[in-house]
Amino acid sequence: MTWVLANLQLIGSRTVSHLLLAVPAIVLSFVLALPLGWIANRFRWSRATLLSAAGLLYAIPSLPLFVVLPTILGFGVRDRLNVIVALTLYGIALMVRSAADALASVGAPVVLSSTALGYSAASRFFQVELPLAGPVLLAGLRVVAVSTISLVTVSSLLGVDNLGLLFVDGFQRGILAEVLTGIVATVLLALIVDGLLVLLGRLLMPWTAVRR
């Protein structure tokens, strides 16, 4: 506890940098996975192809991806953009399956009747399918958010500033309290963001709360 009190400022600034890496990656992976999930459901060939590609992407160990990606993209290894891109790739890998499942969970009769009511393909997607897919999408997004926040810490092995540096530094200097603080702070941050997502879901989809 004394370590925490003596280093509050450090913990605070690392938490902020942690969020600055995680939040863009979470948002980007959601936005990019949505059309991919749509494509996965749209064609016969695409579902198996996209989903197994996503599974493989997830099997790449994160540490080498953090290092190899900049050599392909031309960033520096410690560039924050590099970390965000890598995290986004993992996020997409997780999210594509949820997005495909979510859009598939909208029943065919609903889609057909909204077409019959005169919705164009685009307005049907945004006004009918997307809201109905919402709860499953939210469940997927929560998994992505939590695992992204946890995964950010691996990039600290390259020296990128985030809560994971508390593990690296604490391990090298043998400060148990520092490592423990890093773990607690990361888990708390993940749970807080998860809670915020649940609240956001209630706000955007009030009908899901009523049904219960």
Partner: protein, 220 residues
């Protein structure tokens, strides 16, 4: 793609391939770390998952702890346990087991949960004891979902097992950390490629197992 060809050349170099710390030996370590972690996680999580799935009790608790476990940063657990118990295989093994438990637990519990209640009632009305309902109905019917859970656990563990090398254990992570220190990108890429190949092989094995399980359900 220049790094890519260099990485392939690095793999093909017999000097890197063989010997005690060679790619083959390290790959083997990576595989058995993965299998051991998933095995230990299964011993913990499968009975627990069946218990929760069969009795329906403690469901909320299981879901909540699985969520929290997903937030647990593996690197943090590795370094924490490493600091307390010293470097070696124990620390990464604890972290990998913690990583694998939620997926296996979810697979075991969801497999039992997803069975039509009427099927279970039919088994009971035929005079099966609760133990028989579990072993003769719920476990066989839940097998495909359990294998799915084991599959995602294995996939996560095989990639994350590279962190074991950070606290002095073996595995393909050795080449990653060595490459990181010496800025040897082809070496890191080579190790990453091998991890992916191992993941693919394990995926293939699970695919076969899942088909077998599905086929057995159909013919019985």
């Amino acid at each position: 793609m220049n790094y890519f060809t260099q990485a392939l050349a690095w793999i093909a170099d017999p000097e890197n391939l063989h010997g005690d710390g060679g790619l083959l030996a390290r790959s083997w370590e990576q595989i058995w770390y993965t299998l051991l972690a998933v095995l230990v996680a299964s011993v913990i999580a499968i009975p627990l998952g069946y218990l929760v799935g069969h009795t329906g009790r403690g469901r909320g608790l299981v879901v909540a702890t699985s969520g929290a476990a997903r937030a647990l940063p593996t690197l943090g657990v590795v370094t924490l346990v490493g600091l307390i118990f010293g470097i070696g295989l124990f620390a990464p093994m604890v972290a990998l087991v913690l990583l694998a438990v939620p997926s296996v637990l979810a697979g075991a519990y969801a497999g039992v949960e997803a069975i039509d209640p009427r099927t279970k009632d039919a088994a009971r009305s035929m005079g099966m004891s609760e133990w028989q309902v579990l072993t003769k109905v719920e476990i066989p019917l839940g097998l495909p979902l359990l294998i799915g859970g084991l599959r995602s656990a294995t996939l996560q563990v095989v990639a994350t097992a590279t962190l074991a090398a950070y606290v002095g254990a073996g595995g393909l992570g050795r080449f990653l950390f060595l490459g990181l220190k010496t800025q040897d990108y082809p070496q890191m890429l080579a190790a990453a490629l091998l991890v992916m190949v191992i993941a693919l092989i394990l995926e293939g094995a699970y695919e076969l197992a899942e088909r077998q399980a599905a086929q057995r359900l159909r013919t019985h």
